[in-house]
């Protein structure tokens, strides 16, 4: 049954091959001090950096940069980002990159107005923002996390071996997002595959939570079916626009709160995956793929009807002449075959996690 909820996602999302054409009209909504947030320089190689800088110049903006945001953005980097944004008196944080860069920009947006330590305030103590929130806009270069249209922000503290996500309220959702699937063509193969599984697992985690007869689950099945189909095309031809655009759009909707509406959600695979990420610095999507099959095999007996439904509705498993257990298991096996086909990590060993660090992972889950 649908429980009570509020849905509010005011992000204006421009999607498609010409999405960047909308940047000038978006920039016009904000003051002149723009802080550009990006990662390790791939946007310089691709030419996107120059394109964006030209638009910013034409718009007469004063641009300050926060560069070098890493794939698991750290608490120290966040503190540095807050200093820069504060000194620049930022009117807009323009994040150009994937989920890490956008997550980071959101963390800065709620933190820069305050002297409190952002890691302690928002990630250890999980407080609500109580000061000014600097608007965030984003130009997405890699699909998977859904960060472009949600209020989530994951920050890692390598010293404390903790990787913690905070889902803020709708006031922290980026005001605008520019999603051109062509920009994802240049993402390294491994990152594309990880992003696909990240999006798939976002849908899955919500699908396997809560009650059954909920429109959210029917929508989730449609999204999983299309994602499986499109991913098979994309791993063979990463420049197939139709496949990549479907993957991008599904990734956005997999985690912009729609699927969670009216449902309980537990996010167990993410909790374990993030703990592994805190200890290994492994790619987020790959930590999920290493955990998911074992986790779902583990919980399957406790929610068998849903796993039967997953098998028949998402993987077209024929249930005739089989027990529910067999059907459910065939669904998991079909998922594993697909994971091998698209090429994602299947064991924690592949992520560099050795048995002597298992205790650290357990500790990092906070349990």
């Amino acid at each position: 049954m649908l429980g009570d909820f509020t849905f509010h996602n005011p992000c204006r999302i421009h999607f498609g091959q010409n999405a960047l054409d909308n940047l000038p009209s978006e920039l016009a909504e904000y003051g002149s001090n723009v802080v550009l947030v990006y990662g390790g320089g791939s946007i310089k190689k691709s030419g996107l950096y120059d394109q964006v800088m030209e638009v910013l110049e034409t718009a007469g903006k004063n641009v300050t940069e926060i560069s070098g945001v890493m794939s698991n953005p750290t608490a120290d980097k966040l503190r540095e980002g807050c200093r820069i944004a504060r000194e620049a008196d930022a009117d807009l944080l323009l994040a150009v990159g994937g989920g890490s860069v956008i997550d980071f920009a959101k963390a800065v947006s709620v933190s820069a107005s305050s002297d409190e330590d952002p890691w302690e305030k928002y990630y250890l103590r999980m407080e609500d923002p109580d000061g000014d929130i600097i608007p965030v806009g984003d130009i997405l270069t890699m699909s998977g996390t859904g960060s472009e249209m949600n209020a989530g922000s994951v920050i890692t503290n390598p010293d404390e071996k903790l990787k913690i996500g905070h889902v803020f309220g709708s006031e922290v959702i980026p005001r605008f997002a520019i999603v051109n699937p062509e920009l994802t063509f240049t993402v390294p193969d491994k990152q594309m595959r990880a992003g696909i599984f990240d999006a798939f697992n976002h849908i899955q985690e919500q699908y396997f939570s809560g009650e059954d007869d909920n429109v959210s689950d029917y929508i989730a099945e449609g999204m999983m079916r299309n994602l499986i189909h499109a991913s098979r095309i994309a791993v063979k031809d990463p420049t197939d626009y139709e496949a990549r655009s479907n993957i991008s759009w599904i990734s956005t909707w997999a985690l912009n709160t729609l699927l969670a509406c009216g449902k309980a959600t537990d996010w167990e695979v993410h909790m374990i995956g993030q703990a592994i990420g805190a200890v290994t610095d492994a790619t987020h999507g790959m930590t999920l793929s290493a955990v998911a099959p074992a986790y779902y095999r583990h919980i399957m007996p406790y929610g068998l009807p849903k796993f039967v439904r997953f098998a028949t509705e998402v993987w077209n498993v024929d249930p005739s002449g089989r027990t529910d257990e067999q059907v459910a298991l065939e669904g998991i096996e079909a998922m594993e075959d697909w994971m091998d086909e698209i090429g994602v990590a299947r064991t924690v060993g592949e992520l560099g996690l050795t048995p002597d660090r298992y205790d650290d992972v357990v500790k990092a889950t906070g349990r």
Copy 2:
């Protein structure tokens, strides 16, 4: 393939049995002059009117009323509504009712600030709003149209025998919506059935438009499957909360622009249905149900693969040993059986349309 598009739907939607509890915090966002817009008095019978008035009084609002909004709101009524809203210096138009009342409130919201005739400006000349737009909020009492979370507004001119819809930009989308599926329990049976088919046809019209391999179509299939399932429960027990809440939530998402993202859409069934509505004043959903089967049988040969997909994915038609034509036709037949099961008009005769007025319908389509 997903074409370029912008998605922007800033409506804050409160959903569930306690959704009305959010009205005070929403009202606090607006000035003190509230114009309450409603229909024929069913909200007085149900007690909702008193509940809402109490909240408005507690919030210290000056309340002016526009009552008697009819199921096909007329141009004359719109002119009257604009006068009332202008004289009240409205800060908020609070629509309490179904799609007609909310459509009407949106029409007033874009028109009250101007002296131009709203029917001519927005429905005959299809201009964009160029003056102040009064914010609209809504409390939904009947599901189907999706008006609660979109920018569409249909107005009828009985003298000119025209019923015309204008889809405005996101600035006309209601700022907030309160959707408690329990409020729909008291809707007359016929209206509930019409609303179900209205929502179904919204999904269908978008599904049968544009290219095939688009995530929108996969989401549409999930929504149609759930709607068929939930509607079968609801017509037997209109107070089944799970079924009614799924119907309400699907109706909202069937027409809040998500399904149209990246797709061409033609809305032919609606164009013909609205023409019939202009001539007969019949219930909107019933005009669609009277037109849809014949229309889809007519276009089936031109888009056979999509109709085969509709048959197998939405209606579970077994394709083995059958031609594509047979499979596609079985899909339409399954839809017709379901329409009979939930009880919606299947012929224009049932709507009171006699052959001597067919010419008026053709004229009303504007072709």
